[in-house]
Subunit: 252 residues, 2 copies
Amino acid sequence: MTTCLHTRLDSLNFLDEDDFALLDRLLERRDKATPGELVVVEMQKVTQTRLIIDGWAYRYRSLANGTRQILNFLIPGDIISFYAMMLPLSDCGVEAMTPMEFAHFPVTDLVETLSGSAHLVLALSWIAGQSERMLDEQITRIGRRNSKSRLAHILVELHVRLRNSGFDKDQACLLPLTQAVLSDALGMSAVHANRSFRALVKDGLIAREKSDIRLMDVTQLSRVADFDHAYLEQTEVPATTLNAIEPKLVPT
Amino acid sequence: MTTCLHTRLDSLNFLDEDDFALLDRLLERRDKATPGELVVVEMQKVTQTRLIIDGWAYRYRSLANGTRQILNFLIPGDIISFYAMMLPLSDCGVEAMTPMEFAHFPVTDLVETLSGSAHLVLALSWIAGQSERMLDEQITRIGRRNSKSRLAHILVELHVRLRNSGFDKDQACLLPLTQAVLSDALGMSAVHANRSFRALVKDGLIAREKSDIRLMDVTQLSRVADFDHAYLEQTEVPATTLNAIEPKLVPT
DNA sequence: CGTCAGTTTGAAAGTCGTCAAGGGCCGTGG
DNA sequence: CCACGGCCCTTGACGACTTTCAAACTGACG
């Protein structure tokens, strides 16, 4: 049962069979969610961490004025409520966008598993570090890009993330995003999101396919978005870091 | 030598003397930076992790169009380049805003220290989790708040963070921020930042003090900002999480 | 065939950025 | 002591970008 998480972690090239065995045991219990379902409720206690096997969700925050901000999108291979072990009260909600399947486990199991393998600590820290970079990019996108390039940018990011999780070029060009969802993610009104959307359609860069979006020309989209691939690069963890933990695993 | 990090971690109530001893050994080597100095350069290899002892900095990204986005502010007790152990190429720069002092250590020392204490792993994960929440809030701020409440909001956040790091009420009301810096952090033009600033001054909520900002009425500012204190709360790590690692430390 | 969610469009109003010019404070050097 | 430059703040006018409101359109589905 190879998941998208396996695909991402494989590229790190340092996890051995034992690590994957520990991981697999953690991922045994499965669950499902339907579109619109709240996987995590805002301001509520969270005791489970989840790994997305299939389907899309988003993490969001509601504001007092009735609007909401989507913080980021969650796709297969992403972890939900990773920090729940330290911060059990969720500051944001998670809503399923498509039918979903995920593995779930109590946070205590996660802690136990992590204390069993320094390799896994590193691997999940690497995932956490990548998510932080995506938040950085989300901030930059909303803060300093105009609406058209904002839209192009997030589409390219999602495409690249899908590719990194093992989807083929074609699959990674079909995104289950409505314009209302995009507007909440990009910090703009739905009407304006539509206008930016239309502009990209007119340029032949994207197209609507039912209620999905198809990327027609990723290269050109990257250019419009001024997209810098570096922040999502599947960089290797440096050997020096790995050496620093080996002595603890195999005491001489 | 009690640092602001100690103050923050003390409130967690689960680190023992040995943990602090390990930590202190990590923090022995010190260094300084002057205002405007680049502590971390964008797109360059990072081999050191730092802990801010004193002074302010910000983390930022430059864009191709010549603008930049400040991602977050770094104050005493904050860690710089925590993820450098897994992602050695920095995706953002860090610039000193005031004279700074920090502890610095090679990332390998950090990895070694962490593999020596599961408690410290949790403690630093807790710090990392908090920073992620602040990034969430930064996204929400820029995406879904108007300029006046955006400004009020970040000022209150910085105030609360300073209090959490051990500064007294008065110290935590004097922030070394120029309007140009604020505008880059809030995703607006310097001119517009000034207008929002003036509006808050006129209401008597803030005042300029040389090139610093003084908060005159934090309560009222919180109201204007629609500030929700929950995301910065110094929550305790749940006992169940702590229990989950104990067996590994003291095998029966 | 009606409903519903999602999309599309226009017009008017509001927010925000750009350009340009001027002011205050402070440290340096004459 | 004063002049000068540099950095930061301030303000007005104008134009660009974005939101809001309102109405209509489309395709999927029972």
